[in-house]
């Protein structure tokens, strides 16, 4: 019983000072101009993704042989199911199956954002668990890190292609295949933080008063990884959106009828010389989204993790 009292004291003091420091950092982060700029563009993209059905779109998978390969701005006559016709301007033209590119691009925002967030979440959580274990349980460290080194020796896109080729292509396969090559980077990051933090007096103090290992990890070590991991997660999300586009563009990503930016561009490849709009519009959207996330990531890194900003 006597040991629990000092533990509580050490704990609350460490947490209190750490959390005020963290809170002020967050306040600083959201005032950073890069974070605001990137964040606003990203919010617009999220709004587009959520509001896609009400932004004047039609079914993005609807094939219309009568209006194939129309240039942007062409007025189309669409025959509805009840036999009536309606006029509609194809803002971004149509593809070679007559699908509306504007609707596909807007709905594609959903796929890309889902892939970005999901890959970042999978890579960070896998990397966090493996990194904590590797940094804290010393006898496992060598073994885990050799595997991570091996995975990092396979160029990222190639590893993703290999993983996609093993399983059937689909959204979850693509997410997992893109997340795996990103995981070793997170593991290394978490491990290096664990290794430096475990020497800190407050961790030694907590251990010496008999705090169980899982509690030390959870309460004293984990909070130190949050800021760097958020920075890492933004860059991972940006890279993942690009990677999905690469895989879909090569024809080995998400099934082609799904409206994703990569798929729209893959479909537009063959007739690119005559109808560049199939590549241009999704290209602009993808560049804008990834740029916004990267700029936001730069801003977050500068404020949350100044040590890391020196490295790149």
């Amino acid at each position: 019983m006597s040991t629990t009292v000092p533990e509580e004291v050490v704990d609350s003091a460490a947490i209190a000072s750490a959390s005020t420091k963290r809170r002020s950092l967050w306040a600083l982060a959201i005032r950073n101009p890069s974070v605001i700029f990137g964040g606003v563009i990203l919010l617009i993209m999220v709004a587009i993704a959520v509001l896609a059905p009400v932004l004047g779109t039609v079914d993005p998978t609807r094939i219309d042989p009568a209006s194939r390969n129309k240039k942007p701005g062409t007025e189309l006559t669409i025959r509805l199911e009840d036999g009536k016709t309606m006029k509609r301007v194809a803002l971004m033209g149509t593809d070679s199956l007559g699908r509306d590119v504007y609707s596909r691009v807007l709905y594609g925002t959903r796929v890309s954002l889902i892939v970005g967030v999901a890959v970042a979440a999978v890579a960070v959580s896998l990397g966090l668990v493996i990194g904590l274990v590797s940094g804290y349980i010393r006898w496992l460290d060598g073994f885990i890190m050799r595997i991570m080194d091996g995975l990092m020796a396979i160029p990222g896109i190639l590893l993703a292609i290999a993983l996609v080729s093993i399983w059937r292509s689909g959204l979850s396969t693509v997410i997992f295949a893109i997340a795996v090559p990103d995981t070793p980077r997170v593991v290394r990051l978490v491990r290096s933080i664990v290794l430096s933090v475990r020497e800190e007096p407050y961790v030694e103090g907590a251990i010496s008063v008999g705090t169980p290992t899982w509690l030390v990890m959870f309460r004293h070590i984990l909070p130190n990884t949050i800021a760097p991991l958020i920075v890492q997660a933004t860059f991972t999300a940006a890279a993942a959106i690009l990677a999905e586009a690469y895989l879909s563009f090569l024809g080995i990503g998400i099934p082609p009828e799904t409206p994703s930016w990569g798929n729209i561009m893959a479909e537009g490849r063959t007739l690119f010389r005559v109808f560049p709009h199939n590549i241009l519009y999704p290209g602009i959207f993808i560049a804008l989204t990834v740029l916004a996330i990267n700029i936001m990531g730069d801003g977050l890194r500068d404020t949350l993790d100044p040590k890391m900003s020196k490295k790149v």
Binding site: R146, I147, D149, G150, L151, A153, I154, P155, G156, I157, L158, L159, I161, A162, V164, S165, I166, W167, A238, L242, A245, Y246, F249, L250, G251, I252, M265, F272, R273, P276, I279, G283, I286, A287, V290, L291, N294, I295, D298, K310, V312
Partner: protein, 313 residues
Amino acid sequence: MLDFIARRLVSIIPVLAVVALFVFFMLRLTPGDPAAVIAGDNATSDQIADIREKLGLNLPIWQQFGIWLGNMLQGNFGESFFFKKTVSELIAQRLEPTLALSICTLILAVTTAVPLGVIAAYRQGSLLDRVVMGFSVLGFSMPSFVIGYCLIYVFAIELGWLPVQGYTRIGTDFWAFLERMVLPSVTLGIIYVALIARITRASILEVLNEDYIRTARAKGLSNRVVLMRHALRNAAVPILTVIGVGVALLIGGAIVTESVFGLPGLGRLTVEAVLSRDFPTIQAVILLFSVVYVVINLIIDISYTIFDPRIRY
């Protein structure tokens, strides 16, 4: 020094072992009989039995791995049933375009990015610095195939200066070869330029505050000499490191760029192999690219001592 090289050589063995294990188990993770998967859809049962015999698929798994590894180390990558050739032949055929594209890109990227980074650091905060930095963030954010198609549209279709797609072997017609390398190298080079320029700027900025730079200036040396001989040489290690790490980007980018420009290289082969589920070829390509990546980084590690004599191993 020799001791260091030996130690570094030994250290890549576990890395390559993990890569080999991954590539080996790839085939075992796919649903279905490995022999049937290798043989492809149109195989006869005799062919499947033959493959099973050759790979020792009836033996315990660790013996299978031994047989497979022995074959790989002898350069025997097996047979591609889809392309109806041995995988080694296939790779030899497709090697030239990829090698040419990588070398052209590397030369182009390093000769553009390093001066850009140095000037951006020297004129920190200037318009030029901001343009270079803005470009480098943008370069990271554009899919390289979009850049490729934009370049094709402007320079090949609208202006008609360069051919749209295709490849001419270097031995057939050197000028035609060079003409067809321009757009792919620029496309693939942009992300690489972005990466190298950024790191060059950062490491030169760090070095410019050092005492020896002040000393060099005080001696009355010209800016050019101070920047090139004193600053750049001391900033070389991080730049070299990022060039090595960037090889992974280069390989990934080559796969996409070859598809955009219709270059019959290893990247295109990788995609064709995945689409036709031709596993012997997929396995060989992954092994090959990974070994190249690891070896390049090993060479760069060793070369640190040349650029920075303070590093002693």
